[in-house]
């Protein structure tokens, strides 16, 4: 028995050794990807790469886990500057301008020129393409895209005498529900918060979940202007600050993004805002029935999109670029996009993916998954400008200053706008 096993192993390894020689020429693609949500994402990506290479023996995809989104772009750009870029990477859709300014990527629309290709690129949801196109070219292909949604704990809703099947529909209702859901213990400490909107790391993104329904846009399409100090923006920030300062339904100070889902599992927060990318994580770990709702409306519903796009890197050979494109097409094909969406919770990026049998079955089992898709029609582009990290840092600092009570909202936004204007003056031509 043991011996046959050995023979088999030997045979297989001998076969493996001859394979590269037998194949004509293998194009290798180094593929950087980040992990931003809970769950076994690494395993899923490795499986995808292996499956692809099996179907396409002439291309070898090496998936390289590169850390958080932030760490991934640092790695990718550092590698590019040292002359050894990855061929392919998934990075934030908002890093598009930065990558263009650094000459790091090639337009997808220059690689995918055929009629089929054009049809493929037009097959994605429009709101996902908002952060993927500029100056008439397509630079990124939507892959792990998300929006913000509201998760609520149905048990706690029942306890508070609320309809457990309905999330809050608008801003006033969210405050009203949150008040009923906030519980204080005998010593005056809050044991259960009505609501948590995280504000560490990238508060600007969650803030867009408040500005968008209030009909405020934060930047122009060319990424050269921001509108942080407009009255509608300040009003949205005032509402956010009031949730803790005035209504006392949310903890004061900065709320950690990473522990928000855990707060939800621990029943320390009855409603939370977080990415749809956390759906699978929450589905697995919440020990109670939960609901998913679109972000509450003010003038209308609305949320930013978020998440990562595929980018093909410059300073690589045409063969490598073609191979990268092939992998992107394969990974975003309806069947794959559906599987990816089901295993992670990210929104399937094309309408066609929602038409697959798997996705239909999944949507029946987990109707919450459809909320994110339905919210897409109200979604806007995530904040993205030239010198993006710096401009968003200016806004983040302003938001955190207001949320920690260091500055009143109007002043915080005025300061952020002044800084952003200064940073962007070189890009206005």
């Amino acid at each position: 028995m043991k011996r046959t096993l050995w023979t088999a192993v030997l045979a297989v390894s001998a076969l493996a050794a001859t394979l590269p020689a037998a194949a004509q020429k293998v194009t290798e693609i180094n593929f950087y990807y980040p992990v931003a949500v809970g769950g076994p994402v690494t395993k899923t990506i490795d499986q995808m790469a292996a499956d692809f290479s099996r179907e396409n023996p002439d291309i070898k995809v090496n998936p390289i886990y590169a850390g958080t989104y932030q760490e991934s772009i640092v790695k990718a750009l550092t590698a590019t500057k040292s002359g050894n870029p990855p061929q392919l990477a998934v990075l934030l859709s908002t890093d598009m301008f930065t990558l263009i300014d650094e000459d790091a990527i090639v337009p997808i629309s220059d690689l995918a020129k055929g009629a089929d290709d054009k049809k493929w690129l037009d097959g994605f949801y429009k709101s996902f393409m908002l952060n993927s196109r500029t100056g008439g070219k397509t630079w990124g292909v939507p892959f792990q895209r998300s929006t913000i949604v509201l998760y609520w704990n149905k048990d706690l809703f029942k306890e508070a005498g609320l309809d457990p099947e309905k999330g809050p529909a608008n801003w006033d209702q969210m405050v009203e529900y949150a008040k009923k859901l906030t519980k204080t213990d005998a010593s005056g400490n809050v044991a259960q918060w009505g609501l948590k909107i995280p504000s560490s790391g990238f508060p600007y993104w969650l803030f867009q979940g408040l500005t968008t329904p209030n009909d405020a846009v934060l930047m122009n399409e060319a990424g050269t202007e921001t509108y942080f100090d407009k009255p509608a923006v300040v009003e949205a920030l005032q509402y956010w600050v009031d949730l803790s300062a005035k209504h006392k339904v949310m903890p004061s100070g900065v709320i950690e993004w990473g522990t928000t889902p855990k707060d939800f599992f621990e029943k320390k927060a009855a409603m939370i805002w977080t990415t749809t990318g956390n759906l699978t994580n929450i589905r697995k770990n919440a020990g109670f029935p939960f609901g998913v709702a679109m972000l509450p409306a003010k003038k209308h519903p609305g949320s930013p999109t978020g998440g990562g796009n595929f980018y093909v890197f410059a300073k690589t050979t045409p063969a490598e670029q073609a191979a990268s494109l092939k992998f992107i097409k394969w990974a975003t094909a309806p069947q794959r996009a559906a599987e990816w969406s089901i295993s992670t919770g990210y929104v399937a990026v094309t309408p066609a993916a929602w038409e697959t049998a798997e996705m239909k079955k999944y949507a029946q089992e987990v109707p919450q998954a459809m909320i994110a898709r339905d919210q897409l029609q109200h979604s806007v582009a995530e904040l993205s400008t030239h010198d993006n990290q710096r401009v968003t840092t200016a806004l983040n600092n302003g938001l955190q200053a207001a949320l920690t009570g260091a500055k009143p909202p109007a002043e915080a936004m005025r300061d952020a706008q002044r800084e952003a204007t200064r940073l962007l003056k070189d890009y206005k031509r």
């Binding site: 932030q70 772009i73 640092v74 750009l77 550092t78 930065t98 263009i100 300014d101 650094e102 000459d103 010593s187 005056g188 400490n189 809050v190 504000s199 560490s200 790391g201 903890p251 004061s252 100070g253 900065v254 709320i255 950690e256 522990t259 707060d263 621990e266 320390k268 010198d387 990290q389 710096r390 840092t393 983040n396 600092n397 302003g398 955190q400 200053a401 949320l403 920690t404 260091a406 070189d426």
Partner: protein, 291 residues
Amino acid sequence: MFRLPDRVTAWLLLLPALVLLAAFTHWPAVATLFHSVMSTPKKNRPSRFAGLDNFREMVADEVFWRALWNNIAFAVGTIPLSIGLAIVMALWVNSRIQGRGFLRLAYFTPTVLPMIAVANIWLFFYTPQYGLLEQITQSLGLPSHNWLGDKSTVLGALIIVAIWKEAGFFMIFYLAALQQVSPSLAEAAALEGASRWQYFRRVLFPLLMPTTLFVLINALINSVRMVDHIFVMTRGGPDSASTLLLYYIYQVGFSFWDSGYAAALTVVVLVALGLVAVLQFGFLERRTHYQ
């Protein structure tokens, strides 16, 4: 047989170390100086000589000043406390007590753990509502507090992590120094009727001065160098309240990609550290008693 002159042999022996030092320390330092007076290359705008522009920008940069003050507060908060704790712990584990090997190990453990792991543990300690710290304060009936989410407490919270991490490391040096101290000194002091405090203040502490100098310099360098935990715990927030200089340099260099400005910041840190080192060696060395 042909023999190289001694002078050549000496240089040849020094060569490997010299090459490494030059390539990885001296050359980058000089290159940093050069980059600090150049503008950051952008698309269609190559790097050009910018004179003192980067430094002028720094003077006007609020975040830089906040990072500088934060760093000074961080140094003032961590250095005396961690050194004091290290001395106390060293005296404690140097005395004849049961299980001192275990104690030494316990005190040294934080030093061995990687900073990122440590930061993740402390992140849980500080988590509002169900973190370890909150569980303790709540059982005592104290109000809940968002330690890392509040501008006024976040730096203090990070200082405590740094002290916890460093004290054990410094303890090892003091322990080594204490074991070099001859027991006859303690006996002589006892015969003269000196109290334990007098013995420590007049005999032991002066003898430990070389170690203190060494530890002080290390502590100072660490207070500038230690930023790993910021990445995990706060990312410099809220509103830059926990941004330290090195973290800011990283941010400017690797998320803003402003290499010129990052180089200028680095130059300032290098100069400041250099000055402090000169002061320490010049001033304290004279007051330090070497055996």
